[in-house]
């Protein structure tokens, strides 16, 4: 690759960082408004009590936890794409990784706040933190919620690091082109990056260690989230399959979210040259794989419940299969299985648009899956006298909308400050031949002037 191509990539990818359009500012303002509405709803709920939600006895958990599990699931986008693909050194990952890692960090932030919103007395959340004092009080380490607390914090820390490390060379790049306060801030973020071989070496090995370490963390996080349910003797929660089922579902929804994010970025930031149909094709295949895996788990779960015919589980089974929750169930099956299977099995429909449509189906389906796990089981517990139902309250709906807005907002802000495609990784890629656009540019540049030896950038 030549210098001109490098420069071209750098220029194109740094473009979003240089100023913003009116449309962009309006979008951010609108998103901030929605997020503020969510914060306000939470404030009102704290003042008035969690009774503003639709929660009741017996449905003590509702939309907040549905969205919590949903967002934690989405957060698995980064892990798989980035870490696994890094480890196996799949070349096509390069334009995709940062996009995915950002989803992880933001989804975790959002997902991590939701259980706090869900608390009856959120101002006392510090009871979860272990600290010694004369009262002899500790949090209860036997509680899956404590495991959650630690797992999510660990994952948040790790994924933030994992996102941050490969950004350092790019920060340095921005630093070198910036002036004034921006230069100071990016200088601080670049942590003295000079691009020495020693630094590259360190970065590479750190990335490698993180990539390996974060996979078990990610798997454990969603396993532990599944344990929040599986540990309780609630019909259709108390299941050994929940750990892997949740992890698969998480990765599934994460890929779908990633595809949607990529499609949006591609369109809005004019990154068609970098996020190519090739990437969608590969992610589409992955999504299809996960869809089949997910379907397998759902089949296994429901078959065993149906065949086992336990008196306490069947009311939940039938409520979701033919009863009041059946519409949600069948939309979920359509979105999570039928749609991806149809659209993604053939090359002809595995286009960018096809992938996006399938992904939207999956995101909706996976949200419904979380809903179908949390609500029907609580509605139909062991004693039929206690059966009840649930409909969300206004704060729950506002906060849910705000959580989606928060994701969009964080992303909007992120792309303005950080190159959303890892510039150095793209440059270092040896598979750029795959990208016809780059090859063409190279050819044009070659015709224009002398070309330095390839691969010397590092």
């Amino acid at each position: 690759m030549n210098l001109a191509a490098d420069k071209r990539i750098t220029d194109e990818l740094l473009k979003p960082l240089q100023g913003s359009s009116r449309r962009y500012r309006l979008t951010v303002a609108a998103l901030m408004l929605v997020v503020s509405a969510g914060v306000a709803a939470w404030a009102v709920q704290m003042y008035s009590g969690i009774g503003l939600t639709g929660l009741n006895s017996p449905v003590f958990w509702g939309f907040y936890l549905v969205n919590f599990v949903f967002w934690i699931g989405i957060s698995h986008a980064g892990t798989l794409i980035s870490a696994i693909l890094r480890i196996v050194d799949a070349g096509w990952r390069r334009p995709v990784t940062r996009c995915a890692e950002a989803i992880t960090a933001f989804a975790l932030l959002i997902g991590g706040v939701l259980p706090l919103i869900h608390l009856g007395r959120p101002w006392l959340f510090y009871h979860l933190i272990p600290f010694p004092d004369g009262r002899g009080l500790w949090p209860n380490f036997r509680s899956p919620l404590m495991w959650d607390f630690f797992a999510i914090n660990t994952y948040l820390l790790a994924s933030t690091l994992f996102l941050f490390l490969p950004m350092i060379p790019d920060f340095a790049l921005v630093r070198d082109r910036a002036s004034g306060i921006r230069r100071t801030i990016y200088g601080w973020l670049a942590m003295g990056w000079q691009g020495t071989p020693r630094q590259w070496n360190r970065l590479e090995s750190a990335m490698h260690i993180m990539a390996i370490a974060i996979i078990p963390i990610a798997v454990s996080v969603h396993t532990i989230v599944s344990f929040d349910f599986a540990m309780a003797v609630v019909p259709m929660w108390h299941s050994t399959i929940f750990g892997p089922y949740f992890v698969v579902g998480a990765i599934f929804s994460g890929i779908a979210a990633l595809i949607i994010a990529m499609a949006l970025l591609r369109r809005l930031l004019r990154l068609e040259a970098y996020l190519q149909p090739l990437h969608f094709d590969k992610l589409g295949k992955l999504l299809l794989t996960m869809s089949l895996l997910w379907a397998y788990f759902v089949f296994a779960e429901r078959l065993t419940v149906w065949y086992g015919n336990e008196i306490t589980e069947m009311p939940v089974f039938w409520a979701t299969f033919t009863g009041e929750y059946a519409p949600a169930f069948w939309i979920m099956v359509a979105g999570n299985f039928v749609l991806p299977a149809v659209l993604l099995s053939t090359k002809r429909t595995r286009t960018v648009a096809g992938c996006v449509v399938a992904s939207v189906g999956v995101v909706v389906g996976m949200w419904l899956e979380r809903f179908l796990i949390v609500i029907p089981s609580l509605s139909y517990r062991q004693l039929p006298y206690t059966w009840g139902s649930y409909a969300p309250g206004w704060t729950e709906i506002v906060v849910m909308v705000a959580s989606f807005a928060a994701m969009a907002l964080l992303y909007c802000v992120f792309v303005k400050f950080v190159p959303i495609i890892s510039i150095w990784e793209l440059k270092s890629g040896n598979d750029m031949d795959d990208a016809p656009h780059i090859v063409e540019a190279e050819a044009r540049d070659a015709a224009a002037g002398p070309v330095p030896a390839r691969g010397e950038a590092s």
């Binding site: 009774g51 009741n56 006895s57 009856g120 007395r121 209860n140 509680s143 540990m231 003797v233």
Partner: protein, 236 residues
């Protein structure tokens, strides 16, 4: 150290619900009003479940008082992240309101659904608040609450017993939670399960006895004595 338990004789229980009101009076349980009740937030630490069987005219209706079973192996306890729900030395599932941050996990874990949550601050139209029992906390918004076996009475009885005798033993029958005290048909019997001679432990060993949702393995401290059958020989 005593291990508190209860025996519920379903053959005696008439479903009169004296226990329900007695519990409200003793334990400062708020009335939530019609709108909140319609949302499924009514609080009754003890309730009388009713189940229909058969069709008219061969129809049966059975009652079963259900309240916290004070399980030995309680599912509500390990799930609480702050130890607000924990096991006392005397075998009670205690709820410490101070520690409760309102995750409501315990309520999900409890298969008997006997935990109640303060979705809003409880309110008493003045001067109804003058009736509140000063020996019992008034719980605020965001806190889980449940049957305590009238822990305030247990503590008071223990203090009295220690003042009176050296070993401070609470004699069987001197201590009753409000529900058992009001029970018109004497269906609820409370006492020390570790005292082999106490009424409750004798009833708990009855062949008519069983535990609610026994198969879940929560090992409740409450024994239900099933309805008897009448036969003309006069036995039962």
């Amino acid at each position: 150290m005593p291990r508190w338990g209860m025996a519920v004789d379903l053959d005696r229980c008439t479903g009169c619900e004296a226990c329900v009101t007695a519990c409200h009076a003793e334990n400062n349980i708020p009335t939530v009003g019609p709108e909140e009740a319609a949302r499924g937030r009514a609080m009754h630490w003890i309730r009388v479940e009713r189940y229909w069987e058969g069709e008219f005219p061969d129809v049966r209706l059975t009652f079963r008082p259900v309240f916290c079973q004070q399980c030995d192996n309680a599912p509500c306890e390990p799930v609480c992240p702050t130890y607000a729900s924990y096991h006392t030395d005397e075998g009670l599932n205690a709820q410490v309101y101070n520690r409760c941050i309102g995750t409501r996990y315990c309520a999900n874990a409890c298969s008997y659904n006997v935990r109640f949550f303060n979705f809003h601050n409880p309110e008493w139209d003045r001067p109804l608040d003058l009736q509140l029992n000063p020996d019992v906390s008034v719980r605020e918004v965001g806190v889980m609450e449940k049957c305590t076996f009238c822990i305030q009475r247990i503590n008071a009885a223990r203090i009295d017993a220690r003042a009176e005798t050296e070993e401070g033993r609470i004699e069987d029958g001197t201590l009753q939670p409000a529900c058992a005290q009001s029970c018109t048909a004497n269906a609820l019997v409370f006492g020390d399960l570790d005292d082999a001679d106490s009424r409750v432990s004798r009833l708990s060993r009855s062949p008519r006895g069983s535990k609610l949702l026994e198969e879940l393995g929560a090992e409740p401290s409450v024994t239900y004595l099933q309805k008897g059958d009448w036969d003309e020989s006069g036995g039962g």
